[in-house]
Every structure is written in C-alpha cells, then in structure tokens.
Subunit: 150 residues, 2 copies
Amino acid sequence: MASTKTSTDPAVDAWTAILDLVGWGSSGRTPRFPTVAMELDLSPKQLAVLWRLEPGGEGLPMGTIAASLYCDASYMTDMVDRLEQRELTERRPSPGDRRVKLVALTEQGEQLRERALRMLYMPPPGIEALSREEQSTLATLLAKAAAAED
Amino acid sequence: MASTKTSTDPAVDAWTAILDLVGWGSSGRTPRFPTVAMELDLSPKQLAVLWRLEPGGEGLPMGTIAASLYCDASYMTDMVDRLEQRELTERRPSPGDRRVKLVALTEQGEQLRERALRMLYMPPPGIEALSREEQSTLATLLAKAAAAED
DNA sequence: TATTGTTATACTCTATAACTATA
DNA sequence: TATAGTTATAGAGTATAACAATA
C-alpha cells in the first residue's frame, strides 16, 4: 500500500522510504517512538530524557538535557519532578557548581530505560523480511550515512 | 558523534541507524517532521492532515483522517476549523451520505502542501554524502523493506 | 551582573461527554 | 438504534515571566 512513485534521484527515494518506514510517510504506519512511550506510560519527551541518561553515569545537568530536547528549563523541572515521583530519576548536586543539579537514573529508571530501548531497537517487520545479506548491506550503508551527518 | 556500538544482528544495526538518521536516536539530531511543521506554522498533526489530502482529489471524510491520525473526531473538527480559517482546506458535502463531510485542499492548501513535501523529502546530508551507486542500492533495499511491511 | 533552576501562570494540544442531524 | 460531526469542557503538555540561590 506504500505509494511507490519513484523519482530520478535515488537519495530522495531512499529518504522517502525511510520516512515511510518510521511512520512519517503518508502510509499511516504507527510511529515507533510515541508508541513505546505510551506503552511505558511516559510522554515522548520523558522517554527522550531517560534515553539520554547513561546507566551508571553521574548524571546530566538539567539545562543540558533541556537544550538537547529544545524545551524550556521550567518544563524540564516539571518533567524531572514527575520522573522523580515515579522514582525513575534522582537529582544530585554538581561537584563543581552548586547551582546546577545533575539528573541521574535510579535502579528502577535503568530498568525501564533498558526495556524501552529493547522495544525501540526492535527492527520493523519490513527489515526483518530482508535476507541477512541484504540487511548487512543496508546496515553498512546506513551507518555510513549516519556517520556522514554534519 | 553517532554511537557506533554494533550488535550481531544487521537488522538491528540497520534500524538503529535509521532511528539515528531521523533524529530519534540519542544522537540529538533534529527530527525533520516537527521542524518542517513549525517552519510552516502548522502543528505536526495539521501537517499530517495536509499530507494525507491529495491535490485535486475530492477530499477525505473527517472520520477517516481522524482514524489514520489516531486522534479524536472532536479534535479533528478543531484542526480542520483552523486549517479552514487559513483557507488551506475546505469542507464539502459527501454525495452518498449527508452526515459525512469531505475535507479537501484549496488552491493555497495545495501550494503549502507542495512546499512542505519538498522540505520533507529533501534527503539529509548523510545520504547525499553517499555515492550515487550506494544511494541506489540503499533506495532499492529500503523500498523492498517498506513494501514488506504488512 | 549573569546563570541555574524553581514557582506561578497562561497558552496550546488533545480527549471525554453530551448533543444534532442523518441513516 | 447507530453513526458523522460538532460543542462544551476538562486535562495534559509546554512556554513566559518573575524569583531565589550561586557564581
């Protein structure tokens, strides 16, 4: 049911197929990211926060996370408040600067993040349907493309 | 800067790279779809509505669009109201059933949609950076994968 | 004085419930 | 009676402005 109008530019065709695969095309596929968030009872942004936090790490400054999510600091406060209420993250003082607070995963947070990533990284059926060799070629080319992004 | 942790499953690697490319990875890339919407002063869902409407077509029933966007009919009413205020779409009676209303693009709507699609389909630099042959291979494999999605 | 984070507030996005018109 | 869309309303999500503490 995917519209298979093909242009003369293979780069456009490749990108169009990607858009389609992730559910942004006109194809009506369900986008993965918001779906996973919903299933875990998180807002998409909350999931994005969890994603950025490294398990076992010392945490990231609130402001840094807010900037990387393109959202306001005040909203960050609110989101972290709610993650904290669910005991998924905790605030820690920053050694160097007593104004900044580091957000770090709790044990529970690490587990939920782990679960989320497993769901996110599960390849869609269309990719599973390719032969192993095709998948390999695809992976190589995509990795090359991803690495070449500015 | 993309995390290049490689698994033993090429399907996972391919999908991970796609997630990264579209800005859903931990890479912090800006997702295309919401960006384009914002630049055109549309909400992402409004853009999705425009995308689904075929230029020159007789229009789609409100309910059909709402279902394909996973949103409530009442919200559809609201969105279409605002699209209509900006003269991007118009409501038409349905020939067969006088309860249903068809949403169709106006001349202005067609133009804005055209502009949006040009922005959306513009391949990211990482794909442009591949050789033409690599792009071709990529496009072929991705089209195959997209077609294989149930 | 400039910066990090918080509080109070308001605005936008989206859903639920009750309603109207048609089937 | 059931269905398509609308209206009224309430709830999430998100920003702006004013503020406290630290630099």
